[in-house]
Amino acid sequence: MIQIIQVLILGLALGGVYALMSSGMTLIFGVMRIVNLAHAAFIIMAAYISFWLFKLWHVDPIVSMAVTMPVMFLVGVLYYKVMFASRADNPRFTDITVLVTFASALVIEGVLSYLFTGIYRSTNPIYATKPFLVGPFFVPQSQVYATAISITLIISLWLFLRYTRVGNAIRATMQNRNSAQVVGVNVAWVSMLSFGIGLAMTGAAGSLLSFIFTFFPSKHVAWIGMLMSLVVLGGMGSLMGAMLSSFLLAVIAAYVSFYWGPTWAPITFYLALFLILLFRPQGLLGKKMDG
Protein backbone atom coordinates (compact mmCIF):
# COMPACT_ATOMS: atom_id res chain seq x y z
CA MET A 1 0.00 0.00 0.00
CA ILE A 2 2.76 2.38 0.96
CA GLN A 3 4.47 1.63 -2.32
CA ILE A 4 1.32 2.32 -4.29
CA ILE A 5 0.93 5.73 -2.65
CA GLN A 6 4.63 6.42 -3.02
CA VAL A 7 4.39 5.87 -6.78
CA LEU A 8 1.31 8.10 -6.92
CA ILE A 9 3.26 10.89 -5.18
CA LEU A 10 6.17 10.57 -7.59
CA GLY A 11 3.78 10.66 -10.53
CA LEU A 12 1.96 13.74 -9.28
CA ALA A 13 5.27 15.45 -8.53
CA LEU A 14 6.21 15.12 -12.21
CA GLY A 15 2.77 15.99 -13.57
CA GLY A 16 3.13 19.70 -12.97
CA VAL A 17 6.28 19.95 -15.07
CA TYR A 18 4.66 18.01 -17.89
CA ALA A 19 1.71 20.37 -17.63
CA LEU A 20 3.99 23.39 -17.91
CA MET A 21 5.72 21.93 -20.94
CA SER A 22 2.45 21.17 -22.69
CA SER A 23 0.69 24.42 -21.70
CA GLY A 24 2.72 26.55 -24.08
CA MET A 25 2.27 24.08 -26.88
CA THR A 26 -1.49 23.90 -26.47
CA LEU A 27 -1.75 27.71 -26.27
CA ILE A 28 0.24 28.07 -29.48
CA PHE A 29 -1.97 25.56 -31.23
CA GLY A 30 -5.16 27.03 -29.81
CA VAL A 31 -4.49 30.58 -30.91
CA MET A 32 -2.70 30.08 -34.20
CA ARG A 33 -3.29 26.46 -35.22
CA ILE A 34 0.47 26.04 -35.21
CA VAL A 35 1.55 22.50 -34.39
CA ASN A 36 4.82 23.40 -32.74
CA LEU A 37 7.02 20.35 -33.22
CA ALA A 38 9.98 22.47 -32.10
CA HIS A 39 8.44 22.97 -28.67
CA ALA A 40 10.64 20.40 -26.95
CA ALA A 41 13.71 21.70 -28.80
CA PHE A 42 12.98 25.17 -27.42
CA ILE A 43 12.68 23.65 -23.95
CA ILE A 44 16.10 22.05 -24.33
CA MET A 45 17.47 25.36 -25.57
CA ALA A 46 16.20 27.07 -22.41
CA ALA A 47 17.62 24.25 -20.31
CA TYR A 48 21.04 24.99 -21.80
CA ILE A 49 20.70 28.65 -20.87
CA SER A 50 19.99 27.65 -17.29
CA PHE A 51 22.81 25.12 -17.39
CA TRP A 52 25.41 27.67 -18.45
CA LEU A 53 24.17 30.30 -16.03
CA PHE A 54 24.50 27.71 -13.29
CA LYS A 55 27.84 26.39 -14.41
CA LEU A 56 29.50 29.75 -15.05
CA TRP A 57 27.99 31.98 -12.39
CA HIS A 58 26.24 29.55 -10.04
CA VAL A 59 22.86 31.04 -10.79
CA ASP A 60 20.22 28.81 -9.26
CA PRO A 61 18.07 27.34 -12.09
CA ILE A 62 14.87 28.56 -10.42
CA VAL A 63 16.33 32.06 -10.32
CA SER A 64 17.48 31.76 -13.92
CA MET A 65 13.82 31.54 -14.98
CA ALA A 66 14.02 35.33 -14.76
CA VAL A 67 16.38 35.08 -17.73
CA THR A 68 15.01 32.11 -19.67
CA MET A 69 11.39 33.28 -19.68
CA PRO A 70 11.99 36.75 -21.20
CA VAL A 71 14.68 35.42 -23.53
CA MET A 72 12.43 32.67 -24.84
CA PHE A 73 9.55 35.16 -25.11
CA LEU A 74 11.68 37.27 -27.43
CA VAL A 75 12.83 34.19 -29.34
CA GLY A 76 9.17 33.28 -29.78
CA VAL A 77 8.14 36.72 -31.01
CA LEU A 78 11.03 36.81 -33.46
CA TYR A 79 10.51 33.23 -34.63
CA TYR A 80 6.82 33.91 -35.22
CA LYS A 81 7.55 37.09 -37.16
CA VAL A 82 10.12 35.44 -39.40
CA MET A 83 8.47 32.07 -39.97
CA PHE A 84 4.72 32.50 -39.68
CA ALA A 85 3.51 36.10 -39.77
CA SER A 86 3.40 36.35 -43.55
CA ARG A 87 1.87 32.90 -43.97
CA ALA A 88 -1.02 33.26 -41.50
CA ASP A 89 -3.60 33.62 -44.28
CA ASN A 90 -2.45 30.58 -46.19
CA PRO A 91 -5.29 28.04 -46.32
CA ARG A 92 -2.81 25.27 -45.55
CA PHE A 93 -1.18 27.18 -42.70
CA THR A 94 -1.34 24.31 -40.18
CA ASP A 95 0.26 21.86 -42.63
CA ILE A 96 3.02 24.37 -43.26
CA THR A 97 3.67 24.81 -39.54
CA VAL A 98 4.21 21.07 -39.06
CA LEU A 99 7.01 21.11 -41.62
CA VAL A 100 8.50 24.44 -40.56
CA THR A 101 8.61 23.58 -36.86
CA PHE A 102 9.94 20.07 -37.54
CA ALA A 103 12.76 21.55 -39.58
CA SER A 104 13.36 24.15 -36.87
CA ALA A 105 13.62 21.42 -34.24
CA LEU A 106 16.33 19.71 -36.28
CA VAL A 107 18.18 22.98 -36.77
CA ILE A 108 18.04 23.78 -33.05
CA GLU A 109 19.25 20.27 -32.25
CA GLY A 110 22.11 20.63 -34.74
CA VAL A 111 23.21 24.01 -33.44
CA LEU A 112 23.07 22.89 -29.80
CA SER A 113 25.04 19.73 -30.61
CA TYR A 114 27.65 21.76 -32.44
CA LEU A 115 27.99 24.28 -29.61
CA PHE A 116 27.64 22.08 -26.55
CA THR A 117 28.27 18.51 -27.85
CA GLY A 118 26.03 15.62 -26.96
CA ILE A 119 27.21 15.25 -23.36
CA TYR A 120 24.43 14.59 -20.86
CA ARG A 121 23.90 17.73 -18.81
CA SER A 122 21.93 18.77 -15.78
CA THR A 123 22.15 21.46 -13.17
CA ASN A 124 22.68 20.30 -9.61
CA PRO A 125 21.57 22.85 -7.07
CA ILE A 126 21.54 21.55 -3.48
CA TYR A 127 17.88 20.57 -3.57
CA ALA A 128 18.34 18.50 -6.74
CA THR A 129 19.16 15.35 -4.83
CA LYS A 130 17.45 15.95 -1.50
CA PRO A 131 14.08 14.47 -0.64
CA PHE A 132 11.37 15.56 1.73
CA LEU A 133 10.51 12.68 4.00
CA VAL A 134 6.84 12.76 4.89
CA GLY A 135 6.14 9.84 7.23
CA PRO A 136 7.06 6.76 5.26
CA PHE A 137 7.02 8.63 1.98
CA PHE A 138 9.84 9.98 -0.05
CA VAL A 139 9.28 13.11 -2.14
CA PRO A 140 12.15 14.59 -4.16
CA GLN A 141 12.49 18.28 -3.30
CA SER A 142 13.37 19.19 -6.84
CA GLN A 143 10.14 17.79 -8.22
CA VAL A 144 8.06 19.43 -5.53
CA TYR A 145 9.56 22.82 -6.32
CA ALA A 146 9.28 22.30 -10.05
CA THR A 147 5.66 21.20 -9.88
CA ALA A 148 4.67 23.96 -7.46
CA ILE A 149 6.24 26.60 -9.71
CA SER A 150 4.68 25.03 -12.80
CA ILE A 151 1.20 25.05 -11.31
CA THR A 152 1.64 28.64 -10.18
CA LEU A 153 2.65 29.65 -13.69
CA ILE A 154 -0.22 27.79 -15.33
CA ILE A 155 -2.76 29.31 -12.95
CA SER A 156 -1.28 32.76 -13.59
CA LEU A 157 -1.60 32.16 -17.32
CA TRP A 158 -5.18 31.02 -16.86
CA LEU A 159 -6.05 34.10 -14.77
CA PHE A 160 -4.38 36.30 -17.36
CA LEU A 161 -6.44 34.74 -20.14
CA ARG A 162 -9.63 34.93 -18.14
CA TYR A 163 -9.52 38.38 -16.60
CA THR A 164 -7.39 40.77 -18.63
CA ARG A 165 -8.33 42.64 -21.77
CA VAL A 166 -5.45 41.14 -23.75
CA GLY A 167 -6.18 37.71 -22.28
CA ASN A 168 -9.76 37.97 -23.46
CA ALA A 169 -8.53 38.95 -26.90
CA ILE A 170 -6.36 35.81 -26.95
CA ARG A 171 -9.29 33.62 -25.89
CA ALA A 172 -11.53 35.28 -28.46
CA THR A 173 -8.95 34.58 -31.16
CA MET A 174 -8.79 30.93 -30.06
CA GLN A 175 -12.55 30.56 -30.22
CA ASN A 176 -13.20 32.36 -33.46
CA ARG A 177 -10.39 34.08 -35.26
CA ASN A 178 -12.67 35.73 -37.78
CA SER A 179 -14.98 37.19 -35.13
CA ALA A 180 -12.03 38.39 -33.12
CA GLN A 181 -11.05 40.42 -36.16
CA VAL A 182 -14.62 41.64 -36.52
CA VAL A 183 -14.66 43.10 -33.00
CA GLY A 184 -11.34 44.80 -33.62
CA VAL A 185 -8.76 42.42 -32.20
CA ASN A 186 -5.50 42.75 -34.09
CA VAL A 187 -5.10 39.01 -34.56
CA ALA A 188 -1.64 39.30 -36.07
CA TRP A 189 -0.43 41.02 -32.92
CA VAL A 190 -2.29 38.59 -30.64
CA SER A 191 -0.74 35.66 -32.51
CA MET A 192 2.75 37.03 -32.10
CA LEU A 193 2.17 37.73 -28.43
CA SER A 194 0.72 34.26 -27.83
CA PHE A 195 3.68 32.61 -29.50
CA GLY A 196 5.92 34.65 -27.22
CA ILE A 197 3.95 33.60 -24.14
CA GLY A 198 3.99 29.97 -25.30
CA LEU A 199 7.75 30.06 -25.61
CA ALA A 200 8.14 31.91 -22.29
CA MET A 201 6.53 28.78 -20.85
CA THR A 202 9.22 26.66 -22.53
CA GLY A 203 11.75 28.97 -20.91
CA ALA A 204 10.37 28.21 -17.47
CA ALA A 205 10.04 24.51 -18.32
CA GLY A 206 13.64 24.35 -19.51
CA SER A 207 14.96 25.89 -16.30
CA LEU A 208 12.93 23.51 -14.14
CA LEU A 209 13.72 20.50 -16.28
CA SER A 210 17.44 21.22 -15.99
CA PHE A 211 17.51 19.98 -12.40
CA ILE A 212 15.05 17.09 -12.57
CA PHE A 213 16.21 15.38 -15.75
CA THR A 214 19.42 15.04 -17.65
CA PHE A 215 19.28 16.52 -21.11
CA PHE A 216 21.26 16.66 -24.34
CA PRO A 217 20.45 18.21 -27.73
CA SER A 218 18.63 15.24 -29.26
CA LYS A 219 16.56 14.66 -26.11
CA HIS A 220 13.80 16.76 -27.67
CA VAL A 221 12.85 13.82 -29.88
CA ALA A 222 11.77 11.85 -26.82
CA TRP A 223 9.99 14.84 -25.30
CA ILE A 224 8.03 15.97 -28.32
CA GLY A 225 6.27 12.61 -28.68
CA MET A 226 5.22 12.82 -25.08
CA LEU A 227 4.11 16.46 -25.42
CA MET A 228 2.09 15.66 -28.52
CA SER A 229 0.20 12.95 -26.67
CA LEU A 230 -0.41 15.25 -23.67
CA VAL A 231 -1.71 18.04 -25.88
CA VAL A 232 -3.87 15.77 -28.01
CA LEU A 233 -5.22 13.90 -25.00
CA GLY A 234 -6.15 17.17 -23.28
CA GLY A 235 -7.82 18.49 -26.41
CA MET A 236 -5.59 20.61 -28.63
CA GLY A 237 -5.88 24.20 -27.47
CA SER A 238 -7.29 23.42 -24.04
CA LEU A 239 -5.11 24.62 -21.18
CA MET A 240 -7.07 22.79 -18.51
CA GLY A 241 -7.13 19.70 -20.72
CA ALA A 242 -3.35 19.73 -21.03
CA MET A 243 -3.03 20.07 -17.27
CA LEU A 244 -5.44 17.20 -16.63
CA SER A 245 -3.80 14.88 -19.14
CA SER A 246 -0.34 15.75 -17.81
CA PHE A 247 -1.16 14.68 -14.28
CA LEU A 248 -3.12 11.66 -15.48
CA LEU A 249 -0.40 10.33 -17.76
CA ALA A 250 2.42 11.21 -15.37
CA VAL A 251 0.76 9.08 -12.70
CA ILE A 252 0.00 6.21 -15.08
CA ALA A 253 3.55 6.33 -16.42
CA ALA A 254 4.86 6.22 -12.86
CA TYR A 255 2.94 3.01 -12.21
CA VAL A 256 3.98 1.48 -15.51
CA SER A 257 7.55 2.35 -14.69
CA PHE A 258 7.23 0.85 -11.22
CA TYR A 259 5.67 -2.44 -12.25
CA TRP A 260 7.24 -3.06 -15.65
CA GLY A 261 10.38 -0.98 -15.47
CA PRO A 262 11.21 2.54 -16.71
CA THR A 263 11.80 1.36 -20.28
CA TRP A 264 8.09 0.86 -20.62
CA ALA A 265 7.05 4.26 -19.24
CA PRO A 266 7.08 6.09 -22.61
CA ILE A 267 4.68 3.54 -24.04
CA THR A 268 2.03 5.00 -21.73
CA PHE A 269 2.07 8.23 -23.71
CA TYR A 270 2.00 6.65 -27.13
CA LEU A 271 -0.71 4.20 -26.15
CA ALA A 272 -2.77 7.08 -24.75
CA LEU A 273 -2.28 9.01 -27.98
CA PHE A 274 -3.35 5.97 -29.97
CA LEU A 275 -6.44 5.31 -27.86
CA ILE A 276 -7.59 8.91 -27.73
CA LEU A 277 -7.30 9.28 -31.48
CA LEU A 278 -9.36 6.13 -31.89
CA PHE A 279 -12.12 6.87 -29.42
CA ARG A 280 -12.22 10.60 -28.69
CA PRO A 281 -10.17 12.46 -31.28
CA GLN A 282 -11.18 15.87 -29.91
CA GLY A 283 -9.42 15.04 -26.61
CA LEU A 284 -10.69 15.05 -23.05
CA LEU A 285 -11.65 18.72 -22.86
CA GLY A 286 -11.31 19.68 -26.50
CA LYS A 287 -13.94 20.66 -28.97
CA LYS A 288 -14.82 18.92 -32.16
CA MET A 289 -13.28 20.77 -35.03
CA ASP A 290 -15.09 21.57 -38.22
CA GLY A 291 -13.69 20.89 -41.59
Binding site: D89, N176, S179, A180, Q181, V182, K287
Partner: protein, 248 residues
Protein backbone atom coordinates in the same frame (compact mmCIF):
# COMPACT_ATOMS: atom_id res chain seq x y z
CA UNK B 1 -21.75 63.97 -43.90
CA UNK B 2 -20.98 60.36 -43.19
CA UNK B 3 -21.06 59.27 -46.77
CA UNK B 4 -19.35 56.05 -47.77
CA UNK B 5 -17.94 56.18 -51.27
CA UNK B 6 -16.76 53.04 -52.98
CA UNK B 7 -14.85 53.61 -56.20
CA UNK B 8 -13.91 50.97 -58.76
CA UNK B 9 -13.15 48.25 -56.26
CA UNK B 10 -11.44 45.15 -57.60
CA UNK B 11 -11.04 42.33 -55.08
CA UNK B 12 -10.70 38.57 -54.72
CA UNK B 13 -9.39 35.93 -52.33
CA UNK B 14 -5.79 34.78 -52.16
CA UNK B 15 -4.47 34.35 -55.67
CA UNK B 16 -7.95 33.56 -56.98
CA UNK B 17 -9.87 35.42 -59.66
CA UNK B 18 -11.42 38.84 -59.17
CA UNK B 19 -14.78 38.60 -57.45
CA UNK B 20 -15.45 42.32 -57.48
CA UNK B 21 -14.63 43.87 -60.83
CA UNK B 22 -14.63 47.61 -60.64
CA UNK B 23 -17.57 48.09 -58.33
CA UNK B 24 -18.69 51.58 -57.38
CA UNK B 25 -21.35 52.57 -54.91
CA UNK B 26 -22.21 55.58 -52.81
CA UNK B 27 -23.84 54.96 -49.46
CA UNK B 28 -25.55 58.05 -48.08
CA UNK B 29 -25.71 58.59 -44.34
CA UNK B 30 -28.86 57.55 -42.55
CA UNK B 31 -30.18 55.35 -45.33
CA UNK B 32 -30.61 51.60 -45.51
CA UNK B 33 -29.16 49.81 -48.51
CA UNK B 34 -30.12 46.30 -49.43
CA UNK B 35 -27.66 44.52 -51.67
CA UNK B 36 -29.02 41.59 -53.62
CA UNK B 37 -27.67 39.47 -56.42
CA UNK B 38 -26.99 35.89 -57.40
CA UNK B 39 -24.51 33.68 -55.58
CA UNK B 40 -20.96 34.66 -56.41
CA UNK B 41 -21.92 38.20 -57.38
CA UNK B 42 -19.64 39.50 -54.63
CA UNK B 43 -22.16 40.71 -52.05
CA UNK B 44 -20.32 39.39 -49.00
CA UNK B 45 -16.96 40.16 -50.56
CA UNK B 46 -17.98 43.80 -50.87
CA UNK B 47 -18.82 43.99 -47.19
CA UNK B 48 -15.58 42.26 -46.21
CA UNK B 49 -13.58 44.71 -48.27
CA UNK B 50 -15.28 47.69 -46.64
CA UNK B 51 -14.76 46.17 -43.18
CA UNK B 52 -11.04 45.78 -43.79
CA UNK B 53 -11.21 41.99 -43.61
CA UNK B 54 -10.06 41.72 -47.21
CA UNK B 55 -7.68 44.08 -48.96
CA UNK B 56 -8.94 45.35 -52.31
CA UNK B 57 -6.64 44.88 -55.28
CA UNK B 58 -7.66 48.19 -56.79
CA UNK B 59 -9.95 51.08 -56.06
CA UNK B 60 -10.73 53.34 -53.17
CA UNK B 61 -13.08 53.33 -50.19
CA UNK B 62 -13.69 56.72 -48.67
CA UNK B 63 -15.67 57.25 -45.48
CA UNK B 64 -16.27 60.77 -44.20
CA UNK B 65 -13.57 61.98 -46.51
CA UNK B 66 -11.00 59.53 -45.18
CA UNK B 67 -9.47 56.68 -47.12
CA UNK B 68 -10.40 53.32 -45.56
CA UNK B 69 -8.69 50.85 -47.84
CA UNK B 70 -5.37 49.62 -46.54
CA UNK B 71 -6.59 49.91 -42.97
CA UNK B 72 -6.89 46.84 -40.73
CA UNK B 73 -10.30 45.66 -39.54
CA UNK B 74 -9.77 47.18 -36.09
CA UNK B 75 -8.84 50.53 -37.61
CA UNK B 76 -11.97 50.55 -39.77
CA UNK B 77 -13.97 49.78 -36.65
CA UNK B 78 -12.36 52.72 -34.86
CA UNK B 79 -13.84 54.95 -37.55
CA UNK B 80 -17.38 53.85 -36.78
CA UNK B 81 -17.95 51.19 -39.45
CA UNK B 82 -19.21 47.93 -37.97
CA UNK B 83 -19.63 44.53 -39.58
CA UNK B 84 -21.82 41.59 -38.55
CA UNK B 85 -20.71 38.45 -40.42
CA UNK B 86 -23.15 35.95 -41.83
CA UNK B 87 -22.11 33.00 -39.72
CA UNK B 88 -23.34 34.56 -36.44
CA UNK B 89 -19.82 34.16 -35.29
CA UNK B 90 -20.07 34.66 -31.58
CA UNK B 91 -17.35 33.37 -29.29
CA UNK B 92 -18.91 30.00 -28.49
CA UNK B 93 -17.28 29.43 -25.11
CA UNK B 94 -17.88 32.89 -23.77
CA UNK B 95 -21.11 33.96 -22.12
CA UNK B 96 -23.48 36.35 -23.86
CA UNK B 97 -22.24 39.12 -21.61
CA UNK B 98 -18.59 38.34 -22.35
CA UNK B 99 -19.42 38.39 -26.04
CA UNK B 100 -20.94 41.83 -25.67
CA UNK B 101 -17.87 42.92 -23.72
CA UNK B 102 -15.69 41.75 -26.60
CA UNK B 103 -17.90 43.95 -28.79
CA UNK B 104 -16.53 46.91 -26.86
CA UNK B 105 -12.95 45.64 -27.08
CA UNK B 106 -11.61 48.68 -28.94
CA UNK B 107 -13.18 51.15 -26.49
CA UNK B 108 -10.61 50.42 -23.74
CA UNK B 109 -13.06 51.78 -21.18
CA UNK B 110 -14.73 49.04 -19.22
CA UNK B 111 -17.14 51.36 -17.43
CA UNK B 112 -18.43 52.73 -20.71
CA UNK B 113 -18.74 49.22 -22.12
CA UNK B 114 -20.74 48.06 -19.09
CA UNK B 115 -23.03 51.06 -19.48
CA UNK B 116 -23.60 50.28 -23.15
CA UNK B 117 -24.30 46.63 -22.32
CA UNK B 118 -26.95 47.73 -19.81
CA UNK B 119 -28.55 49.86 -22.54
CA UNK B 120 -28.56 46.87 -24.87
CA UNK B 121 -30.09 44.68 -22.18
CA UNK B 122 -32.84 47.25 -21.75
CA UNK B 123 -33.48 47.18 -25.48
CA UNK B 124 -33.28 43.39 -25.86
CA UNK B 125 -34.49 41.79 -22.61
CA UNK B 126 -33.94 38.28 -23.99
CA UNK B 127 -30.19 38.92 -24.02
CA UNK B 128 -30.30 40.03 -20.40
CA UNK B 129 -32.13 36.84 -19.55
CA UNK B 130 -29.46 34.78 -21.29
CA UNK B 131 -26.54 36.97 -20.25
CA UNK B 132 -24.66 34.28 -18.33
CA UNK B 133 -25.27 31.50 -20.82
CA UNK B 134 -22.56 30.30 -23.14
CA UNK B 135 -23.13 31.70 -26.61
CA UNK B 136 -23.04 28.23 -28.16
CA UNK B 137 -26.17 27.30 -26.20
CA UNK B 138 -28.32 30.05 -27.72
CA UNK B 139 -30.81 29.39 -30.50
CA UNK B 140 -29.96 30.56 -34.01
CA UNK B 141 -32.15 33.64 -33.73
CA UNK B 142 -30.75 34.56 -30.34
CA UNK B 143 -27.22 34.18 -31.69
CA UNK B 144 -28.04 36.49 -34.58
CA UNK B 145 -29.55 39.00 -32.21
CA UNK B 146 -26.53 38.77 -29.92
CA UNK B 147 -24.11 39.31 -32.77
CA UNK B 148 -26.00 42.40 -33.92
CA UNK B 149 -26.05 43.59 -30.31
CA UNK B 150 -22.32 42.94 -30.06
CA UNK B 151 -21.77 45.39 -32.89
CA UNK B 152 -24.17 47.88 -31.25
CA UNK B 153 -21.90 48.14 -28.20
CA UNK B 154 -19.72 50.47 -30.28
CA UNK B 155 -22.68 52.67 -31.22
CA UNK B 156 -21.55 52.62 -34.83
CA UNK B 157 -22.77 55.12 -37.37
CA UNK B 158 -22.68 52.58 -40.14
CA UNK B 159 -23.48 48.92 -39.71
CA UNK B 160 -23.11 46.22 -42.33
CA UNK B 161 -25.12 43.03 -41.92
CA UNK B 162 -24.23 39.98 -43.97
CA UNK B 163 -27.25 37.71 -44.49
CA UNK B 164 -28.84 38.27 -41.08
CA UNK B 165 -31.77 35.97 -41.89
CA UNK B 166 -29.68 33.06 -43.12
CA UNK B 167 -30.95 29.72 -41.84
CA UNK B 168 -33.52 31.20 -39.48
CA UNK B 169 -37.17 30.16 -39.12
CA UNK B 170 -39.67 32.60 -40.73
CA UNK B 171 -40.91 33.83 -37.37
CA UNK B 172 -37.38 34.52 -36.21
CA UNK B 173 -36.57 36.25 -39.51
CA UNK B 174 -39.47 38.55 -38.72
CA UNK B 175 -37.92 39.40 -35.36
CA UNK B 176 -34.51 40.05 -36.85
CA UNK B 177 -36.01 42.43 -39.40
CA UNK B 178 -37.88 44.06 -36.52
CA UNK B 179 -34.50 44.68 -34.91
CA UNK B 180 -33.13 46.09 -38.14
CA UNK B 181 -36.14 48.41 -38.33
CA UNK B 182 -35.26 49.67 -34.85
CA UNK B 183 -31.74 50.42 -35.98
CA UNK B 184 -33.15 52.32 -38.98
CA UNK B 185 -35.33 54.38 -36.67
CA UNK B 186 -32.23 55.27 -34.65
CA UNK B 187 -30.82 56.87 -37.78
CA UNK B 188 -28.03 54.39 -38.51
CA UNK B 189 -26.66 53.89 -41.96
CA UNK B 190 -27.26 50.24 -42.78
CA UNK B 191 -25.82 48.08 -45.52
CA UNK B 192 -27.71 44.83 -45.70
CA UNK B 193 -26.78 41.81 -47.79
CA UNK B 194 -29.72 39.47 -48.15
CA UNK B 195 -30.57 36.21 -49.86
CA UNK B 196 -34.13 36.87 -48.81
CA UNK B 197 -34.36 39.68 -51.36
CA UNK B 198 -38.01 40.49 -50.76
CA UNK B 199 -37.66 40.92 -47.00
CA UNK B 200 -34.44 42.82 -47.43
CA UNK B 201 -35.87 45.25 -49.97
CA UNK B 202 -39.03 45.78 -47.96
CA UNK B 203 -36.83 47.00 -45.13
CA UNK B 204 -34.53 49.23 -47.16
CA UNK B 205 -34.47 52.66 -48.78
CA UNK B 206 -32.21 51.75 -51.65
CA UNK B 207 -31.88 48.49 -53.53
CA UNK B 208 -28.57 47.57 -55.13
CA UNK B 209 -28.32 44.66 -57.52
CA UNK B 210 -24.87 43.17 -57.98
CA UNK B 211 -24.01 41.00 -60.91
CA UNK B 212 -20.62 39.49 -61.69
CA UNK B 213 -18.84 41.78 -59.32
CA UNK B 214 -20.22 45.07 -60.54
CA UNK B 215 -23.07 47.27 -59.50
CA UNK B 216 -25.51 46.56 -62.26
CA UNK B 217 -28.46 48.44 -60.96
CA UNK B 218 -29.29 50.82 -58.12
CA UNK B 219 -32.77 52.22 -57.45
CA UNK B 220 -35.02 53.06 -54.54
CA UNK B 221 -35.90 49.78 -52.88
CA UNK B 222 -39.58 50.00 -53.74
CA UNK B 223 -38.78 50.29 -57.43
CA UNK B 224 -36.41 47.34 -57.31
CA UNK B 225 -39.05 45.36 -55.49
CA UNK B 226 -41.52 45.97 -58.30
CA UNK B 227 -39.16 45.74 -61.23
CA UNK B 228 -40.35 42.78 -63.31
CA UNK B 229 -36.82 41.65 -64.17
CA UNK B 230 -35.83 41.56 -60.52
CA UNK B 231 -39.05 39.87 -59.58
CA UNK B 232 -38.32 37.17 -62.05
CA UNK B 233 -34.70 36.71 -61.08
CA UNK B 234 -34.68 37.08 -57.32
CA UNK B 235 -38.15 37.31 -55.94
CA UNK B 236 -39.49 33.99 -57.11
CA UNK B 237 -42.10 35.31 -59.55
CA UNK B 238 -41.69 33.57 -62.84
CA UNK B 239 -43.37 34.27 -66.06
CA UNK B 240 -43.31 30.67 -67.01
CA UNK B 241 -44.44 27.86 -64.79
CA UNK B 242 -41.78 26.01 -62.86
CA UNK B 243 -40.17 23.07 -64.52
CA UNK B 244 -42.04 19.94 -63.64
CA UNK B 245 -39.29 17.59 -62.68
CA UNK B 246 -40.63 16.83 -59.23
CA UNK B 247 -44.27 16.69 -60.06
CA UNK B 248 -44.78 13.35 -61.45
Amino acid sequence: MGTLVIENIVAGYGSGPNILRGLSLTVEAGKTYCIIGPNGAGKSTLIKVIAGMLKPREGRIIYKGELLNGLRADQVLQRGVCYVPSDRSLFPDMTVKENLRMGGYILRNSRLVEKRIEEIFAQFPILKEKSSQMAKNLSGGQQQLASIARAMVLKPELIMLDEPSLGLAPKVVQQIFGTIATLRDQGLTIVLVEQNARKGLENADQGVVLDLGTNSFERPAVEVLHDPRIQELYLGKRRQPLQTENTQ
